[in-house]
Symmetry: C2
Subunit: 205 residues, 2 copies
């Protein structure tokens, strides 16, 4: 691309570092911003700067938070002995939206992925092991992606905490709600036959 | 979405104002930025601020520029009597990439669109009329989108400059290179039959 201004070009380069944003989309953003009020641009710029300066991570679960402890961990009505292990903040939000979980979370900040150079020490695994060995923990639920990396991470953590004798579980895998069987992949369909649930359970709320 | 941090939420709101970016994509941007170095965030923020403070518009063609006059208008080798009228900067870049145009541009900054509340006075049409009536102009090429708004704008400008007796032209319309005829829409195909070109011209460079 032959951008006629160095300033615009630099802004395009910066926006193009965002995930799944190429130079074309970045240029659209920049041309859009050029048409906005200066105040709007200041708003965006200061929101970005605040991200680094003001954001905190919950001491207990590593979730993003405005205070030392996030809203979920600070809530006395939640079951603090039931811990759901997730990859990142988006998963916390997704599970919260289901309204089905009353425990607390532990955010790993990623998954073990040797291909991307991410090892166990890059994640908040030690913090989890320390937490569950020091506090009363009734159950650990693994809620990681059903990918190779997710399964590797599940297994690594499981091996670390196996000796503590804490109950562990993982999200059930099966056919998604609304899926047509003919289009389900064999692995999913095969698993959902092997792990079939008693029919009466489908009436439970 | 139930974002557990006000700071993150505000950044998401800001990013979601960018064109074709929803809250989900905005959240992905923000979580990506949270993992970056503080220096990278400063780079993005300052590039955004610079857009408003430092960017200039070429006095002659309204193209974005770092100086008073853009590179194209400042180039003595270009034909300053041949003016190509375009909607925005992206169109200048697209035409420049073809290497087929040696004249200069005039950037309108939009198209007449009553539905969006954009009238002729919101665009740089007066500047164009003043320019072509004061300077020697051999030809005006209309290179606007082939939409209702583009055609309206073409016609509005044409009516304004008709009395000056300057030669005007517009981009040829027809079947795109690589298109299969069976999939071309009727309007395009009909036009390309009516405006068929002599066969020898297809050999011209």
């Amino acid at each position: 691309m032959n951008i006629p201004s160095k300033i615009v070009e630099q802004a395009v380069e910066e926006f193009a570092t965002l995930p799944s944003i190429g130079k074309r989309s970045a240029l659209r953003f920049v041309l859009h911003l050029l048409k906005q009020d200066p105040e709007d641009l200041k708003g965006l710029a200061s929101a970005i700067l605040k991200l680094k300066n003001d954001i905190k991570y919950c001491k207990q679960c590593q979730n993003i938070a405005d205070l030392e402890v996030c809203e979920i961990c600070a809530n006395p009505n939640r079951d603090h002995s039931l811990i759901c292990v997730v990859e990142d903040v988006r998963d916390v939000m997704a599970i919260e939206n289901t309204l089905q979980f009353k425990g607390v979370y532990h955010v790993l900040g990623g998954l073990i992925s040797p291909m991307d150079g991410i090892g166990p020490n890059d994640l908040k695994i030690e913090e989890l092991v320390t937490k569950v060995s020091q506090n009363k923990t009734s159950e650990i639920i693994f809620a990681l992606s059903t990918t190779m990396e997710g399964d590797t991470t599940n297994f690594y953590i499981y091996k670390k905490i196996e000796s503590l004798g804490i109950k562990t579980s993982m999200l059930s895998r099966g056919v998604s709600v609304g899926d047509e069987l003919a289009y389900a992949d064999e692995l999913t369909l095969g698993n959902s036959i092997l792990n079939r649930t008693p029919f009466e359970m489908s009436f439970q709320k």
